[in-house]
């Protein structure tokens, strides 16, 4: 097989002399059918058909089409008409026609055909290039898509992993919180179960304690229908028990899941221990509270500034309140005593006596304040105990008073006797001196003073004598206590009217029979009234428009009468009160009765087997409470 050199233009046809100047290569028309390996893509063929039959020409053109569909063809054929040219151009890519070979026109035509071929080739190359580039682009795109797909797949996977681990952390966190909140082991199991169901599709969770191995054995029988995971629980390196977790058959626990569940198992014993301790503490607390509340005297726990933190029942009882938390963080002294007291921590422990008035009754308390050295509760610093010593004080006062009276009784009878006569003589002599003196004499007023003083002395002595005589009184029968009181008030009226003091009665309508000495009882009431009048006068001296009032209330109760004589005078201070029954003590600067008044009243009431107590508050008033026995 011969290989012809590649040429741009081949002439298919006889090598006529007219081609010689054109320097084209030649192919014999009969060659082409055998030479199948003719160069392909020959740019241009000149087919000289003048010597060929139409059929042969058609054959050659088809052959060219077949061999090289890019080739341009110039047909030299004098037989071709215009209509045939159109179909030849359409069917066989014939670029141009010549009737005869001519050096000029054929060459020109061939060069144009070459140019056309070159342009078409360029177009084709371009198209090919674009196609190639498109292919490359598509490949790159596909590769990119593939990478993106793989990347997002792995992203999704790590996101899922991240989510799972986040969920697990959340679950673990929630588990730990819920475990801490649980109030029983069953609740703990339920909490863990609830949370693990969500993340691990758990069927049930159980805690089995060490020593209850039979329960563990029973639970492990569930392996027949479930996957069972048993995790050891240890506390302080000792066996504590087991955490048993079950889930559906064929969903084995993976290593990462086991690791996660292990973390829960690690904290469980601590929480269970906390529960046990909590129960013990709760029991202790209940015991403590029961004891605290059972104490009969008021106890309060306060912070470092004496603000109330805890109080027992007796505390509320003493205040006449229902048990509540309303008092918490109020000052203990203001709450309990109704006044402010300053205490310094360095003065502790303190033992202090205080009195408070609630309603009309006065209570005495001994307050013990102790500092709590090591308080578990940092808010509690002091324990305050209030011991009610009202009764004790009352008894003590009465004891003191009766011993005072007894003492006074014995001394007074002897002294009074001794003093009575000399005093009488003194008074006589003073009166004699006075008679001898001119009233204009310088000494006259001094002597008058002496006379007054002597009169006072005599009065005191007589009072003392009467005082000691009281014990020998003969009782009169069938007296009416109301009458005695009215008599006493009548005598006081001189003073009360002139000072515009209002006296108010509240007596029962029926008789109030009593046994005793009319005059002495009347004297006792007069003295009390006198005391009230003077107390109100003291008020009036400060405020002339003060509305002074005395109220006398008499009430029968059981076998007694309760008599209250109250005033709204200046009242007594604490120190005055304790001395009120002391003979010769008086708050009055110039005492008309030399302080014996209340002592005498006390003595008279005592002699009548009654009692007399004074309740007084400075600037508020005084109230005398008297009890006397009813006549049988």
């Amino acid at each position: 097989m011969s290989q012809k050199p590649q040429s741009d233009i081949y002439v298919i046809g006889p090598s006529l002399p007219s081609y010689f100047g054109l320097e084209f290569d030649f192919l014999h028309e009969h060659e082409i059918l055998s030479e199948m390996d003719l160069p392909q893509n020959t740019p241009c063929f000149v087919v000289d058909a003048n010597e060929l039959s139409e059929q042969r020409t058609e054959q050659i053109l088809s052959w060219i089409d077949l061999r090289s569909n890019t080739s341009q063809v110039i047909l030299i054929d004098r037989r071709v008409g215009p209509s045939e040219k159109v179909s030849l151009v359409n069917d066989h890519k014939v670029y141009g026609f010549c009737p005869e070979v001519s050096e000029d026109t054929t060459r020109l035509l061939a060069l144009k055909a070459l140019e056309k071929h070159r342009l078409e080739q360029q177009d084709r190359d371009l198209v090919q290039l674009i196609a190639n580039q498109n292919d490359e682009l598509r490949r790159l795109q596909a590769e990119l898509d593939d990478r993106i797909l793989k990347r997002s797949e792995s992203l999704k996977q790590s996101q899922r992993r991240l989510e799972t681990s986040q969920q697990r952390i959340k679950a673990l966190h929630e588990c730990l919180i819920r475990i801490q909140q649980a109030t029983s082991v069953s609740e703990m199991e339920r909490f863990i179960n609830d949370i693990l169901t969500e993340f691990f599709a758990v069927e049930w969770v159980r805690i089995v304690f060490h020593g209850q191995d039979f329960l563990l054995e029973q639970l492990q029988k569930a392996k027949a229908i479930s996957e069972i995971l048993v995790l050891d629980l240890t506390y302080s390196q000792r066996d504590f028990g087991w955490l048993v977790i079950s889930r559906k058959k064929n969903s084995r626990f993976r290593t990462d899941e086991k690791q996660f569940l292990r973390q829960i198992a690690d904290v469980l014993p601590l929480s269970v221990m906390r529960l046990t301790k909590l129960e013990q503490t709760e029991t202790l607390k209940q015991q403590w509270e029961a004891t605290f509340d059972a104490l009969s005297f008021p106890v309060a726990l306060t912070d470092s500034t004496f603000k109330l933190a805890r109080m027992n029942r007796a505390f509320f009882r003493a205040l006449g309140l229902e048990v509540s938390s309303d008092l918490v963080s109020k000052n203990v002294f203001e709450t309990f005593l109704g006044k402010k007291i300053r205490l310094r921590a360095e003065d502790l422990p303190i033992r202090k006596e205080v009195s408070i008035t609630r309603g009309e009754t006065q209570f005495d308390y001994q307050v013990h304040v102790l500092q709590i050295q090591k308080s578990l509760d940092r808010d509690i610093s002091f324990v305050m105990m209030f011991h009610d010593i009202t009764e004790q004080n009352r008894l003590q006062r009465r004891l003191l008073e009766s011993s005072k009276m007894a003492e006074l009784g014995t001394i007074s009878s002897s002294i009074a006797h001794e003093l009575n006569n000399p005093m009488g003589g003194m008074l006589n002599f003073i009166q004699l001196i006075k008679m001898d003196l001119d009233s204009k004499n310088d000494m006259y007023s001094d002597v008058e003073e002496m006379e007054n003083a002597a009169h006072r002395c005599k009065e005191i002595v007589e009072n003392l004598l009467g005082f000691s005589r009281l014990g020998r009184l003969e009782h009169e029968k069938s007296l009416d206590l109301r009458e005695i009181l009215k008599q006493a008030v009548k005598i006081s009226e001189l003073q009360t009217r002139s000072r515009n003091i209002h006296v108010e009665y509240d007596f029962p309508d029926e008789d109030c029979p009593i046994e005793g000495q009319f005059n002495y009882l009347s004297q006792a009431f007069q003295n009390i009234l006198q005391n009230s009048v003077e107390s109100i006068m003291a008020r009036l001296s400060q405020d002339p428009h003060y509305d002074g009032q005395i109220r006398i209330e008499l009430k029968p109760r059981n076998n007694q009468y309760l008599l209250t004589i109250s005033d709204n005078g200046i009242g007594m201070s604490e120190s005055v009160k304790t001395k009120a029954f002391n003979p010769l003590f008086s708050t009055k600067p110039n005492p008309p009765h030399a302080g014996l008044g209340l002592t005498v009243s006390y003595q008279i009431v005592e002699e009548h087997k009654g009692s007399l107590e004074l309740y007084s508050q400075a600037e508020v008033g005084t109230s005398a409470k008297i009890t006397l026995l009813k006549a049988l």
């Binding site: 069953s186 089995v208 029973q218 079950s246």
Partner: protein, 219 residues
């Protein structure tokens, strides 16, 4: 859909865990303590809740692992007598959502049957106190003392009311008891899930979080 619904009583309709177990357990444990076996209340209750294992088995295990004076069987007998055969003194009640469920089922014309297991005396007391006759056409007690089982009694119920197993839904909280009986007789079953281990066997037809979910099943 279901012509008839058979309910279990204890821990299905009546919350015995809250209302009856604590006092009964306390009394029974006190009786054991008097006879020399001391089991803390909390420990016993927890052990029960671990697997809802039968009490006699638990007491047996406790007796064997704790100090005791009498033979183990004596403690078990004493416990069973005190725990299962005690008089119901408490004011027991059905939760309001259970009452609502029963009312709804009744007014939707479902035939309601009760199937409970236990001592005839105790279960009768419960039934009377709860006025269960308000909703249930027949109330059947399977008394183990008389050797009766729930399977037997369920079969009797089906025959008595001429029911096919397919049209009878059995609802209960114990797989080993009413659910197994239902499976055996071919009845559809609904187990109240209490997240506890159960014996091997075919799954119940339905698993419910609460007895009140029965309403959704029959709709």
């Amino acid at each position: 859909m279901y012509k008839s619904i058979v309910f279990d009583l204890d821990d299905t309709l009546l919350d015995t865990r809250a209302q009856l177990v604590p006092p009964a357990l306390k009394e029974a444990l006190n009786a054991l303590e008097e006879k020399g076996l001391s089991i803390p209340f909390d420990e016993a209750l927890h052990a029960f809740e671990v697997g809802y294992f039968p009490w006699p088995k638990l007491i047996e295990a406790f007796a064997e692992t704790h100090d005791h004076v009498l033979p183990t069987e004596d403690y078990v007998d004493l416990f069973v007598k005190k725990f299962y055969e005690r008089d119901v003194l408490e004011d027991i009640f059905l939760h309001s959502d259970v009452v609502t469920l029963l009312d709804q089922l009744k007014s939707a014309n479902h035939l309601l049957l009760l199937l409970t297991a236990g001592s005839t005396k105790t279960q009768t007391q419960k039934i009377k106190k709860l006025n269960l006759q308000t909703w249930f056409s027949t109330m059947s007690i399977a008394d183990p003392n008389k050797g009766e089982s729930k399977t037997q009694k369920l079969k009797q119920l089906l025959e008595q009311h001429q029911l096919t197993p397919q049209e009878t839904l059995v609802v209960g909280d114990r797989y080993e008891s009413e659910i197994m009986a239902a499976i055996e007789l071919g009845c559809p079953s609904a187990l109240i899930e209490r997240h506890a281990p159960r014996s091997p066997g075919p799954d119940p037809t339905h698993t419910l979080a609460s007895v009140t979910d029965v309403w959704d099943l029959v709709q």
